[in-house]
């Protein structure tokens, strides 16, 4: 009974949205539709397809940048001894404390000065900045949990710190990297504020912006909005399922005696 209630609570809105997306526009005022249609999907058009592509590019770019910078920085913070590493860690966390809305104006000016306003790269950079602290936090605690002796063994075996990272620690960190990748991807995929503020050309809009701007002056195309939302959700669900398989616990089992 409890389980059913939880399921309804979480999946109910999603199911309703999926249903709405197949609901013929003229019948929306009824309690339930008589027929189902794919017209809402067909009506999304090439502009929305472009938005999906833009979102994919931005989210993938952000994820790649975040993991590359985050993993190497987290490794250094967790395993290397260098002056100011506490400051670096704390500073990165402090960045995430800023409410995004407060940074819109200054970021706008910076991006304009850098010639990145109204470009997808101009979204990737601030997204990565905001997602990096979380990545750093997750990966640092993951690397801290891997035994120090593994690092020292790699060093004695002739590795530079960078080689130890690439050959020993990176291959062990797939579960953590996958988790971070999903979180960062979802964050960038869903982000609305920056995308709405920094992008003006319609062909460079991302999905959240495109959906937000669906509403016309006189009509709210609920069926199309629902269809667009379903399209936006499917890649995320797919991605999560894909990575879930890689999140295998106990990858480090046998490295050290517990």
């Amino acid at each position: 009974m409890k389980r059913a209630a939880v399921l309804v609570f979480f999946l109910g809105p999603l199911a309703w949205q999926v249903l709405t997306s197949f609901w013929p526009e003229p019948e929306l005022t009824r309690a339930l539709p008589h027929t189902l249609t794919v017209a809402n999907y067909a009506g999304l058009g090439s502009t929305f397809a472009r938005a999906v592509l833009n979102s994919l590019l931005v989210a993938a770019g952000t994820t790649a940048l975040c993991l590359a910078a985050g993993a190497s920085a987290a490794f250094a913070i967790a395993k290397l001894d260098f002056p100011g590493r506490g400051l670096l860690f704390g500073g990165a966390l402090a960045i995430s404390m800023f409410p995004p809305i407060a940074t819109v104006s200054p970021l706008y000016l910076i991006l304009r000065a850098a010639g990145l306003r109204d470009t997808l790269a101009g979204l990737v950079l601030p997204y990565a900045t905001f997602a990096l602290p979380l990545t750093l936090w997750l990966l640092t605690s993951f690397f801290r949990d891997l035994p120090d002796e593994l690092y020292r063994a790699a060093r004695v075996d002739g590795c530079t710190p960078w080689q130890a990272f690439v050959h020993v620690f990176l291959p062990l960190s797939w579960p953590a990297l996958a988790t971070c990748a999903i979180l960062v991807f979802i964050f960038s995929w869903n982000e609305l504020l920056y995308a709405l503020s920094f992008i003006s050309t319609p062909s460079k809009r991302t999905i959240p912006v495109a959906i937000a701007l669906f509403a016309g002056e006189h009509v709210e195309p609920w069926g199309q909005i629902a269809a667009a939302s379903v399209v936006a959700t499917v890649p995320l669900a797919f991605l999560t399922l894909l990575f879930q398989r890689r999140i295998v616990a106990g990858l480090t089992a046998g490295a050290v005696k517990e």
Binding site: P147, E149, L150, R152, A153, A154, R155, V156, D157, G158, C159, T160, Q163, H167, V168, P171, L172, G250, L251, T252, A253, G254, A255, V256, K257
Partner: protein, 339 residues
Amino acid sequence: MASVSLVHVRKAFAGAPDAVHDLSLEIADGEFVSLVGPSGCGKSTTLNLIAGLDQATSGSIRIDGKPVEGLEPGERDIAMVFQSYALYPHKDVRGNLAFPLEVAKLPRPEIERRIADTAELLGISPLLARKPRELSGGQRQRVALGRALVRKPRVYLLDEPLSNLDAGLRAQMRRELRRLHHKLRATFIYVTHDQAEAMTLSDRIAVLRAGELQQTGTPREIYQRPANRFVAEFFGTPRINVVPAQVLGLPGSGLAGIRPEHLEVLSERAPGALEATVEQAELTGAEVWATLTVGGESIVARAPSDFASPPGARVWLRVPADRVLRFDDETRGAAQARL
């Protein structure tokens, strides 16, 4: 093969007393030397300094006469075996053995040849395709050893390599290490807190306490002529008896030490024997460790396995004077022991 010298090495961590204090130690080519002491004595720190995983605050470390400061761990021609084995969990045994050679960019046929030789030597050839998590503790230990051997380093550093094994396996690996050292004739530096391990394995033992070297010597020297009370008490089970000299009927003030196996327990009064009362007796099989009260002090003595005096019984204790160690007043720190 190489000698290792530590010259006035000091290691200080911020806000703590010196982890290693003015340590000077000469380790000869091909020697098996144990660094022994209770936890926190600086033995592992010393090993890390030799490995280059940590930098000494002052002093100098030389391998084969050449200072190694500024050399990366990989450039020092050393190999290390860790307490937790520290095998690479994502690589199979072959990959673990190959890794240091791959980093050194050895040609592939040479790598394969060395892996085969090492696996043969340690009896792990059937395990080459296994992942570390599929191995037993003893097998992991062998692989960890193999990863060190495969490099043919000048110096082997072993950091409590046997302390995660159960007692039976530990004894077996001890013999194995001894055999390997004999075969390789390389320099071994072995860190342990287990005095019995140090005694059975080493050519020479260096005893550390709170970052300071207490004594170096062969196991026999360390056991028979300990430099001070700390060393005397650290080696030997049951522990050496240390009591005021008068209790043993000896002249002078200060403390006297006598090992339990040197005492003789008599059931009848004899000239020169001390009167004692039995507190308890523990039969270990071949012998009995009898705890006796003499002059208000507890003293443990070895008795034959047929010793059957009940608690409270009166016995006599013969103290061979030539076995007694004298310690000066303990208030003067590392007191000297003398025979």
